[in-house]
Amino acid sequence: MKRDGRLAVLTILLAVLSLVSLVAGFWRYKALEAEMSRAQTAERRVWTAQAPDNPHGASHFGVWAFRLPSAWLAFEPGVSQFVGSGVFLESHRENPALFSSAIDDPPPLRLSILSPGWVLLTIVPLLVSLLAAHSWSSEKDSGRLRLLLSLGVSPRALCLGKIFALWGACVVLLSPVLLVAYLILGGELIRFGALMVGLLASLGIAVLLGTGISLRAKNGSQAAFRTFALWLGFTFLLPSALAELTRVWYTSPNRSAIEQSRRDILKESEAAHKSHLDELQKRYSGPALDGRKFAANEQRDTEVTRAASRPTERQIELRRRALDSGGFLSPYLAARQLNMALAQSSSQAQEHFVEQAQDFRYDFVQQLNEALSSGEEEWKAGDWDRVRPFVFQPQPVEQIVREALTPLCALGLWLLLGFWFVLSARFKL
C-alpha cells in the first residue's frame, strides 16, 4: 500500500478538503456566534430601556429569543441552516423560529455544505471504498495474488491485513484534522469519543464494503463500478427517497389547518372559559381583575395551541422515527445522524430550542400578568430588569446520548455486516 501512488493522492486530497472544511466551518460558527451574542445583548438593552408601560402591554411588545450556536456546529452544521435561530415571544401566540441561513444561498449549493462532518462522511468514504476495492482487485488483475497465495499466505489473512492497513492509514491521515477539531470543539471527551467511534466505524464500513465488493467482482473495473453505485445509493438516493417517502407517509397539517383546529378547540371550551372569567369578575376588580383575566386567557390560549399542534407533533415524531431507522438502511445516514445528534444540529435539537423558548414565553407573559394582578399598573425603568433574559440551555448529555444510541447501534450492525460481507466471500483468483 505504501508503494501505491493513490495513497499519496488520497492523503493530499483528504488533508486539503478536511482543513479547508474545518476552517470554513469555524468561520461560519464564529460569524453566527458573534451575530447571535450581539443580537441577544441588543435585545436585552431594548427590553430594559422601555418607557413606563402597563406590564401586559409590554408582553405584546415581546422579546426575541436567540439560539447561541455550539462550537460543534463548526464540525457538523446539520439542519441548522434550514431552521430558524430566533423566535419572537409575545402574549397569546406561539410564533415559529425564523432566520434560516439556507434561504440566502443559491439553491444548487444545498447538497454540499463544506464542513468537516460532510467531507468525512461523503467524500472520504467514496475515496476510501474505491481505494479498498482497488487494493484487492489490482492484486488479482495483475496476477500478484496468485503468486502471493502460492507462497502459502492465507487469502483471508491477506484480505484482513489489507483492510486493517487501509483502515489504520485513514485514521492516521485524519488524526491531525481530528486533533485540531478536538481543540476547536472545546475538548469535550465523551462527545468527542462518540464522534470518533462513529467516524472510525463509517471508515471501517467503507473499507469493508469496498473490499467485499472487489472480492466478488470479476475485475477492478467491475469492483469500482459497483462500489461507486453503492456509495451513490447510500449517500444520495436512499436519504432523499426516504425523506420524501416519510413526508408522504406521515403528512403533517400545515399552519392554516392547525389554526383552524385551534379555533375549533377554542369554540368548544368557550363556555367553560367564560364562566371562569365571570367568576373572576365577581371576585376582583380593576387591575387585579385585568391581570387575572389576561393570565387565564394566556393559560387557555397556550393549552389550546398546544392541543391543536399535538397531532402535528405526533406525525413529526413518527416521521423522525422512520428517518432514524433509515440508519439501518444506509451507513451514511447512521453516521450523519450520529454527528448531528452530537453536534446538536439535528431537528430534535432545534425542537429543544423552540420548546425552551415557548416555555420561557409562557413564564414571561404570566410574570407580567401576575404583576398586573398584584396591582402594578405601570412598570417603570428598573422594573423591566425583573424579567430574566432568555438564555438557551443546550440539550443535556443524557438526551444527546439517547439520541446518539440508535445511529451508534446502526453503525455497529453495519460493521458486523461489513465483516460478514468480506468473510463470507469466496476468494476467486
Partner: protein, 471 residues
C-alpha cells in the same frame, strides 16, 4: 445501420444497462409521483385559504350590517365595524403565489421561501421564509425531483455505462481489431450515442409528458425544460468520450469520471458557497430585527409625538373619535408603519445583496456543469429565487395599497361596513424566456462539443496509426 444493429444486439445482452435504465425510470416515476403530490398539496392549501377568506369576510360583513341595524356599542378587539381590527386581524387577506408552472418537475427554492403573504396593517416584517412544519432533514438531503434525477443521477448512469467504451475493448484484446477497420470512431460513437439516446430521450419524454399532463398551459416551458435537461447531459457525454480516448484502464477512467462528477456536484459548490459568503456577504436578518426593535422601543417613549407627527401631515384625520380605543388603534397603526419604515432599508439592502450574490453565483457556476444545469432547470420550472423575490416585492406593494386603504379609515375612526371595497391583490406572473439562458446553454453545448471533438480526434489518430502499422 449495420453498426447500429450490431451495437443494439450487444446492448440487448447487457444486463447492467437494462438494470440502470429501469432504476432511472423508477426514480423518474418516483420524482413525478412526489411532484404531483406536492402540487396537489400546494393547490389544496391555497384553495382552503381562499375559501376560508371568502367565508370569513362574508360573515364579518353580515355581522357588521346586523350590528349597524341594532345600533349596538363597539366591542373591543372583535368588532367587525372597527376599521383598525378589520385591517389588522379580522379582515386580513392573503396574497397567494400560484404553484410554479413546472412544480411537478422541480422544487428549487420553493421549500425555503414563503408562497403566501398575509396582508395586514400589522405589516408582518419577516415573512419571506417558509415556516411550514416540514421536516428539515428532507431539506438537508435534497428533494427527489426531476432536477435531482437529471443533474445527480443521469450523469452517474451515463458514466457507469460509458466509462469503459474504449478500455473494455482494450482489456479484452478486441481494440486492435476495431482500430484496424476504417470505422472505429463510428463504432464507438454509435455505441455511446445509442446508450445516450436510450437513456436520456425516453426518460425526458416521461418527465416532460408528466409535466404537460399536470399543467397543459405550460407546454412550451416543459419543452424548454426538456431541452435544457438534454443539453445538460452533453458535457458529460463529451467528457466520457474524451476520458475514454486517453487510452487508460477501465478503473482509472471510472475513478477520474467519478472524481469529476464529485467535484462538479459536491466539491465546487461547497467551495463556491464559502467563497460567495466571504466576497458577497448578505446583511444579517438579525440586524434588521434590531433596527425594528430599536424603533419600537423609541416609540414607547414618543407615543404622543408619533401621533402629533401624523396629524401635522394629515390634520383632517384629527377627529373626535366615537370609538373607544381609537387613539390606541391609531398608535398601533403608526407603530407598525414606523417599524416597517425602519426595516425597509435593511430589507432592501438584503434584496440587493441577494441579487449581487445570485449574479456572482451565476458567473462562477461556469466552473461546474452541474451548477449551470441546476440553475437553468430551476429557472425554466419557475422555482428559482427570482420568482420569489418578485412575489415578495409584489406583496410589499400590495401591503402598501392595503395600508393606504385602511389608514384613512383608522384615523377617521368611522364605523367600517364596506367589505367589498377591501383591496384584493392578484399575483402577476413573472416573465420568463428561454432566451435568457442562451449563454448557459451555449456554454454547455460548447464544452460538450469541444470534449467530444478532442476525444474523436484522439480516436481517429489512433485509428490512423494502427492502420498505417498494419499496412
Amino acid at each position: 445501420v449495420r453498426t447500429l444493429r450490431y451495437e443494439w444486439k450487444l446492448l440487448a445482452r447487457q444486463g447492467v444497462f437494462w438494470t440502470l435504465l429501469i432504476l432511472l425510470w423508477l426514480c423518474s416515476c418516483a420524482a413525478i409521483w412526489q411532484g404531483r403530490l406536492r402540487v396537489a398539496q400546494w393547490e389544496r392549501r391555497q384553495q382552503e385559504l381562499a375559501v376560508e377568506e371568502t367565508s370569513r369576510l362574508q360573515k364579518l360583513a353580515q355581522e357588521a350590517e346586523a350590528l349597524k341595524a341594532d345600533g349596538k356599542e363597539f366591542q373591543a378587539l372583535k368588532d367587525p365595524r372597527d376599521p383598525s381590527e378589520v385591517g389588522r386581524r379580522l379582515g386580513t387577506k392573503t396574497l397567494l403565489l400560484p404553484s410554479p408552472p413546472l412544480f411537478v418537475l422541480s422544487v428549487g427554492v420553493s421549500d425555503l421561501w414563503a408562497n403566501i403573504r398575509l396582508l395586514s396593517t400589522d405589516r408582518p416584517l419577516f415573512a419571506r421564509e417558509n415556516s411550514d412544519l416540514d421536516e428539515p432533514e428532507g431539506r438537508l438531503h435534497g428533494p427527489m425531483d426531476g432536477t435531482f434525477v437529471v443533474i445527480v443521477l443521469l450523469p452517474v448512469v451515463l458514466i457507469l455505462l460509458g466509462y469503459d467504451y474504449w478500455s473494455a475493448e482494450a482489456e479484452s484484446g478486441r481494440l486492435l481489431l476495431i482500430l484496424s477497420s476504417t470505422s472505429a470512431a463510428r463504432i464507438f460513437m454509435t455505441r455511446l450515442l445509442l446508450r445516450w439516446f436510450l437513456l436520456v430521450l425516453p426518460m425526458l419524454s416521461l418527465l416532460v409528458g408528466a409535466a404537460v399532463l399536470q399543467e397543459p398551459q405550460a407546454l412550451s416551458r416543459a419543452l424548454a425544460w426538456g431541452v435544457i435537461a438534454l443539453v445538460s447531459t452533453v458535457p458529460w457525454l463529451g467528457l466520457i468520450v474524451w476520458v475514454g480516448s486517453l487510452g487508460r484502464s477501465s478503473s482509472w477512467n471510472l475513478l477520474v469520471l467519478a472524481g469529476i462528477w464529485s467535484l462538479s456536484l459536491l466539491v465546487i459548490p461547497g467551495f463556491l458557497q464559502l467563497f460567495l459568503s466571504r466576497i458577497a456577504p448578505t446583511p444579517s436578518m438579525v440586524e434588521t430585527v434590531l433596527a425594528v426593535r430599536q424603533e419600537q422601543q423609541a416609540l414607547t417613549w414618543e407615543k404622543d409625538d408619533a401621533l402629533k407627527e401624523i396629524y401635522v401631515d394629515h390634520p383632517e384625520m384629527q377627529t373626535k373619535s366615537p370609538l373607544p380605543r381609537a387613539e390606541r388603534s391609531r398608535l398601533r397603526f403608526t407603530a407598525a408603519e414606523r417599524a416597517w419604515h425602519a426595516a425597509r432599508p435593511k430589507l432592501e439592502e438584503l434584496e440587493r445583496a441577494l441579487l449581487v450574490r445570485e449574479s456572482l453565483a451565476k458567473r462562477w457556476s461556469y466552473l461546474s456543469p452541474s451548477l449551470i444545469g441546476w440553475e437553468c432547470l430551476s429557472h425554466a420550472a419557475g422555482v428559482s429565487r427570482h420568482r420569489y423575490i418578485e412575489f415578495h416585492s409584489q406583496a410589499d406593494q400590495a401591503l402598501e395599497q392595503w395600508n393606504q386603504f385602511f389608514r384613512a379609515r383608522v384615523f377617521s375612526a368611522e364605523p367600517f361596513h364596506d367589505y367589498t371595497a377591501i383591496p384584493s391583490p392578484v399575483w402577476r406572473e413573472w416573465d420568463w424566456r428561454l432566451g435568457s439562458l442562451g449563454k448557459e446553454l451555449l456554454f454547455q453545448i460548447g464544452l460538450g462539443g469541444l470534449l467530444l471533438l478532442l476525444g474523436l480526434r484522439r480516436i481517429r489518430k489512433m485509428e490512423r496509426g494502427v492502420q498505417r502499422v498494419s499496412l
